[in-house]
């Protein structure tokens, strides 16, 4: 039975379009990664990790920016993870089927996609304005707020995947509920929760908008978290927008390190997730 030519053509066109769309999507990925690699590798130098961000016209590195970013990411993770895991536990376990949990789960999904610049404004309003100055603490707090919904989501999902027979086994041994959660469920969900934390780190490592009015930036070495703190994304932004060639190449070097870090984390996460999957 022959299909009329018109329908056959529509079929071929649709499938050619789908193939083209996929190539189109992949093209951008490779274009962006290739340019970052090429420009970044050309700008890499040993002083990148040993010297401070320079004034215009001088050479230097990004040491203070790497340090500031690392500190704020670690602090953000330390604040965001416990809140996220606890809230995820409530949504999946202790508050399952309650109205609060349903509402929090819904709102958490919205927070996941909420514009990060607004979170920066929020932290500015409640912390920076009342403290009277920009600070590394404020930057870490805004990163933590971005981290929370990611951890909530992965914790909730991984706990819900655990079969109820595991919980019943714990209860049958006479364990109170919190010990069932801590000793059995967290153990079973560990790799998935860890995945969520790593995804969160990858996300907040590149966040720029929320740091603009919280941590601001600092051209000099500073380990004081109660003062403006240098950080990689804001340095990349300022240097890229500047008219100086030395600053541009430092921005590319920073972009290269940042992209490599984020991509390696993302690929690592997928490897863990594959290993942790049952079956």
């Amino acid at each position: 039975m022959a299909i009329p030519a018109r329908r056959r053509v529509a079929d071929v066109v649709a499938f050619a379009f789908a193939t083209f769309a996929t190539l189109f999507g992949l093209l951008w990925l490779f274009w962006i990664l290739w340019m970052t690699l090429r420009q970044g590798a050309a700008a890499l130098s040993p002083t990148l990790f040993t010297e401070m961000t320079p004034p215009p016209g001088a050479s230097g590195g990004l040491l203070n920016a790497f340090y500031g970013s690392a500190v704020m990411i670690v602090l953000g993770v330390l604040i965001g993870t416990p809140i996220g895991v606890a809230a995820g536990t409530y949504l999946a376990e202790h508050g399952r089927h309650t109205r609060v949990a349903a509402a929090a789960s819904f709102i958490n999904d919205i927070l996941l996609s909420a514009p990060s610049i607004v979170i920066g404004l929020f932290v500015y309003t409640i912390v920076v304005k009342s403290a009277g100055h920009f600070s590394g603490y404020a930057g870490a707090l805004s990163l933590a707020i971005i981290m929370v919904p990611i951890v909530v989501r992965t914790t909730q999902e991984s706990l819900l995947l655990i079969p109820d027979t595991m919980r019943e086994a714990g209860f049958a041994l006479g364990l109170p509920r919190w010990r069932v959660t801590r000793l059995i469920l967290y153990k079973a969900a560990m790799s998935a929760i860890l995945t969520g934390i790593l995804l969160g780190v990858a996300r907040i490592a590149g966040e720029t908008a929320p740091l603009l009015f919280t941590a601001l930036n600092n051209q000099f070495w500073s380990a004081d978290l109660n003062a403006p703190l240098a950080n990689l994304p804001v340095v990349i932004w300022q240097y890229a927008m500047s008219p100086y060639d030395e600053w541009h190449s430092l921005a590319w070097a920073g972009a290269f390190v940042l992209t490599a870090f984020v991509l390696v984390l993302n690929i690592l996460v997928r490897l863990i997730a594959r290993k942790g999957k049952p079956r």
Partner: protein
């Protein structure tokens, strides 16, 4: 075992009584964290409204209808950034929606099985690249490319046409709404594509097989079975992408040009809500200026909230339809 086993509370087990106090504490901690998430959203909205009240009181409705943004004279109207945000997001969706559906179709129906997972991961990595990298690439690589190869062609061939002409007239400078919209489109592709792919592959096989048995081509299966069946999820995914596009900051800030001018041409620089806040907030020297920028943040937050709520409701509906519980 039977269903009743699942409903046994620890309190019902005599030995567990000793742990009841700790149990209560643990419950309170997790509930507190859940309440924190619940309150966070409202707290953000309230603090934005509070911070922007000075601008809203001073300008009233003119804040959203006036195109004047004059920091020196102290007049702030948000029409230009609102317009720029809407136009760039619209361009982004025009590009991202067909491409994302094409990718989802390719990954569920066309690609050889062994290539599906690597291609899907590569597309997802587009979402992992930090937006500041998109911005840098947009400023140093893509905008010059647009200025040299795409925009001259557009203004030569479309700039003199009757109705769409004004959209494509002007000097090809690379920085502008079209470039920003395209970069945004690339950024939201992975969000729409991954949801579309997930729901496409969740369509019950008998539905598709019946259509094939009736003589449908693969395109007809997509158009008459897959898309109608997954319609609410695909629209939900599009709203999700729209929510992302509206609030995207850094990438847009790099390539939009930070110009407070209203122009019909897509080739001209403009501004967006997020870009205006990012560019100007630390330089805002008066209370009214700062309040106006926070008021912009409030508008952005409310609009993305509404868009994302619609997205979430539509996505919940398909879950229910497919019998998933969460």
């Amino acid at each position: 075992m039977n269903a009743s086993a699942a409903t046994i509370e620890p309190d019902a087990i005599p030995d567990a009584k000793s742990g009841a106090g700790a149990d209560h504490v643990f419950h309170l901690i997790t509930a507190g964290a859940a309440w924190f998430v619940l309150i966070l959203l409202g707290a953000i909205a309230l603090s934005m409204a509070w911070g922007g009240r000075l601008a809203f009181e001073t300008f009233g409705w003119r804040f959203v209808t006036s195109p004047d943004w004059d920091a020196v004279g102290g007049h702030f109207g948000a029409l230009v950034p609102i317009y720029g945000t809407l136009v760039t997001s619209a361009i982004a969706l025009v590009i991202a929606v067909p491409v994302s559906i094409g990718i989802a179709l390719f990954l569920t129906d066309i690609a050889p099985r062994w290539t599906r997972s690597p291609i899907a991961i590569a597309i997802e990595l587009l979402a992992a690249i930090p937006s500041i990298i998109y911005g840098m690439w947009g400023l140093f690589v893509f905008a010059p490319f647009m200025a040299a190869h795409v925009e001259p062609w557009l203004s030569d061939h479309l700039g003199n046409k009757a109705i769409i002409g004004p959209l494509f007239s002007g000097p090809p400078i690379g920085i502008g709404m079209l470039t920003a919209g395209i970069v945004l489109g690339i950024m939201v592709i992975p969000f729409i594509a991954s949801v579309a792919r997930e729901v496409f592959s969740a369509v019950p096989p008998p539905l598709r097989e019946s259509a094939v048995a009736l003589g449908s081509t693969r395109w007809e299966v997509l158009r008459s079975v897959t898309l109608p069946y997954t319609r609410s999820a695909v629209i939900g995914a599009i709203f999700l992408g729209l929510g992302r596009a509206l609030g995207e900051t850094m990438a847009v800030t790099f390539v939009l040009g930070n110009a407070h001018a209203l122009s019909p041409s897509l080739l001209m620089p403009s501004n967006s809500i997020a870009a205006a806040i990012a560019n100007e907030f630390t330089e805002a020297d008066t209370d009214l200026y700062r309040s106006s920028l926070i008021a912009l943040g409030f508008l952005l937050f409310i609009v993305t909230l509404i868009v994302l709520t619609i997205a979430k409701l539509l996505l919940l509906r398909i879950n229910k339809q497919m019998g998933r519980t969460h």
